[in-house]
Structure formats: C-alpha cells, structure tokens
Amino acid sequence: MDNDTDKTMPLQEAVSRYVKKGAHISIGGFTLNRNPMAAVYEIIRQKITDLHLYAHSNGTGLDELIGAGCISKLEIAYGGNGKAAPTCIRFAKAIQNNDILFEDYSNYMMSLRFMAGAMGVPFLPTLSGLGSDIVSTWGFPESLRRSDPKIVDRKLAVVDNPFGNWGGAKKVVAVPAITPDVTIIHVQKADAMGTCSIKGLAFADVEQVKASRHVIVTCENLVEKAELRKNPDMNQIPFIHVTAVCHVPFGGYPTAVYGHYDYDSQYLKKFAAAAKDKDAFKAYQDAWVYGVNSHEQFLQQVGKESLAAIAADPETGYSVNMKRD
C-alpha cells in the first residue's frame, strides 16, 4: 500500500481529490516563510469554499484564502505577515465585517493542539493564557459547537493539576486536539513515497502533518528515495503520514523557502496594498490567481527576473543584500 507506493500526482488532482468543500484544513509555514502557496492558489482557482482553517501564524497563505472567500471558519493565533503587513488585511476586514466565524488562541496553544492530534491524545496542558480573554471569551457560537461533531464542545478547559502543586502549577489550560481532514505543506525535498526533509525551521509542520487524516506535500525537489535514506536524521516526516506528493518548484513563492529562494518583498507589498480594498484585491486575484491556470503559468507571469532576484545564496540560505524596503 504505502511503502514503495508512488504517491506523486499533479497538484490540481491532489487539491480536487482531498480538499473538499467544507473540509477542515491546515497549511504549513509561518508568516512569509514556506507557506504552500501553489496549493493555496490552486484551492482558490478551484473555488473551494466553506473551509474550516486551523492556523497558528500562516500569514500569506491565510490572507489569500480569506480574501478569496474560501474560509468560513477560522481558528487562529496570529494573522500577520511580518513587515509587509503586520496585520493580514483581508483577515482583519473579514472579522470587522462579520464575514467569518473565528476563534482566537495563542501560537503555543495552536501548536499544542496539532501536537495533541499528532500524539493521539484528546488534549495537552499548558500554563498559557490563565486569566486572559483567550480563555474566557469564546468566538464560535455555542450552537455551532453543539451541532457540529467535527468541532469540540469547548474552546478549552481550565482544569486542576491532579498532582497538587507539582511543577509549581495548581491548574492548567487544557487545549483540545485538532485532527484536520487535510494538511498541506511545502518542503525542500520529498521522495515519491512521501518522506520529507525540511531545511531550516520546521515551524509546526511536522505536528500538523501527523495530526491529519490526509497530507498533501508539495516540494521543490522530488528526489530519489536513496537521497533521503542516506540521512534519515534529517527527514522529519516519514512516508506513512503522507497521502499525495506534488513536485512544484517555487511552490512556496511568494513566501521564502530556505536554501532555495527568499520571500518576494515586492510581490508581498503589491499584495498588501491590494488587500486594503475589496475591489483592488479582487482585481489583484483576477490578474494573479484566477488569470492563470497553474502555478507554472503564475511563475511565468511573475517573470524570471523577479525569481532570479530572490535566489538564495548557497551559504546563508537567503538572498543576501536583496532589496527589501
């Protein structure tokens, strides 16, 4: 079934097969780094809607999906995109306009929730948030929590430490596990079976993958099995967790992929500027997302020069002295 099974398929097929209307999904990366942007744009092009997105800080991908109207429910720690857009603008507008249901957590809470899913336990404990409105204020309507079996009944629970004051904590915040229908990540290297090697920070990708029923991996390099087997210590994700592998060079663009290319500040600025206005944003997505039929075509429209300008320096892994203002 799994071992030497070739799981490669075109991205279009992977998205249409596993990202269904109403699915609960998560995407990898963090703010302007290693978001699975090719997959995000494909979801938008396929007009998949009513998605429930679990996010810690997936800035760029998050804001494109929300701006395109794909997301109806959001559980999130942070909607921001670094210097280009300290607050993801379409995210902020969607909340201000009551366009989506949302629930706020912290980055650690969301990471722990994926980790609980990956570990197969119903919750994990933390001391984060005691006394805060994150604990006391719940965003989702109670009726939704009660009626939808895929949504846990309680946002979180403050519970007593069964070991008294052991560990210096009388109580803890239990955060409930997440098990997305599908998680999509973008990595530097994968083989056809789905074993992945991530270079640089893994963020919470590994936990997100292991928590999910289906996993789509897009990769810069589709490599031979032998190349990954030589360095098993560097493979964070063994193939057993992966459903589909899509070879998509520049699949993280316009976010950065360590060792391959940097984020494209110019593109992100253009994106953030368009995001300020609904019509401008529609025009932007019409031109850059709906106006192309694949990530390859999108990259052609971006142009070789823009891609060359963000090429990573082989020593440092980023584009040295790149224009970033």
């Binding site: 001391l127 006394g131 805060s132 919470a204």
Partner: protein, 259 residues
Amino acid sequence: MDMSYTPKEIMTIMAAREIKNGDIVFSGTGISMLAAMAAKKINAPDSVIFFETGAMDSLLEEIPFAVADPRIMYWAAANSSLTDAFATMQNRITGDRVIAILGAAQIDMYGNLNTTCIGDYFSPDIRFSGSGGGCDVASFVPRCIAFMQHEKRKFVNQLDYLTSPGQLSGNGSREAAGLRSGGVSVVVTNLGVMRFDPDTGKMYLDQYYPGTTPGMILENTQFHMDVSQAVQALPPTEKELRILRENCDPQRLILGPAG
C-alpha cells in the same frame, strides 16, 4: 558624533539596558530585535537572542523582517520548532532566564496587553493580528519589556481584550489565576520607563527622558500612575548611540530617519 537622538533610538537603548548577560531574549522583529541586538553589542555580550519559531542564537547578519525570516535560520545554535521554542519558556529552568520584548495596541495599569482588537470582540472597529506568541510568553516568563507609543488611547483604564496577562487585576491576582510570577515588568515608551509595584501590581513611573516630565506622561495616560519615585533617565551615552547606529542598523532600516 551627533548626541541628539530620536525617540526610537532612546527607546531601543532603554530596552537594551534591561537585558543582562546570560539572559535569553525572546525577540520579535522591528525595534524589539534592534534592542536585543544592541544589548548584545553594548552591555550583554553573552545574552542569547531567540525566536518563537525555534531559532536560537542566530547570527543575524541582516535584520529579519519577520520571526520566520530565513535570516534567522543561518548559523543558529539550533533550528527547532514552535513547540520547542515555547517549551523553552514554559520550562522553569530555561524560562526563568528569558526576557521577552513585546509590543501592543493597548496596555492597562497592571501591564496586561491587548494585541487583538479595538471595540467589540465580535464586531471590532479594528482587528489586529491577535496573540501570536504574546500571550504565551507573557504567561511564562518572569520579565517582559513592553514597547509602547505613549498615548492616552493606548494607556487605558480598560482593555478592549486582554490578550497577554500582566498582573491581571493586581494584588497577587496573577498568581491566584494560576500563573507564575512574571509578565510585563517594564514598559518603555517614547516618553519614559514604567515599572510595577511588587505588592499592588500597579504601574509606576520609574524614569522620564530628558525633555519630558512626569506631568507629560500622566497627561498621556488614562489611569493614575505613581510618579513620586521617578527620576530623569540617564540619556543614551555616546558609546550606546555609536554602537546602535554603526553596528546594529547602519542602513537605518528600523531606526528610520535620523533625528
């Protein structure tokens, strides 16, 4: 050298002075990163900068624009993950050595922070990015520096949303809620430096900058603040300014135009 300085420059230096040798500095981007870099180059060479994304003691040859910027991944002692980074702070052994630098849209007299929204939570006038790691670090570590613009709408009687816990409602309520002691311990603004009374948990004025007065600070604060112990801050020294300008941000990417 030009000994006049911009508000950003004095804020950076005041924050840098809070960082001690051996501290592990939880840093965001922008001015908070600059303060961490300045401390390392001026007064705390053996402090360690780390990021919630999991990079520890990165080289930072170029200033990162986000805590996920690939610039933080190069030459780190270790690249790990979000879960590892927050565990380092929740863990008492390493967490007690962490000093965090945070920003916020609102702060109250107990050092609680709002980075979530202005107005009603469900239909806000302005929605911000949300907690990120802010709530986590403010919950876990003994010392946090809050960077704020000193304005009345930001130093408020009542937060619109309590994202990151400080002293909650003071008088030991933080500990009663189950949190360890800690949270925001110092507030650095464009006007002065505030700290918190260890018993009541209330903010008091510790230092006002040359050219400001306790009165100006009170005028820009909604709540009452004890100013009776306030002294004028020691202005940035030549050495501090020189290192900040020449070694930390020579292109003034974060410092912005010179004063």
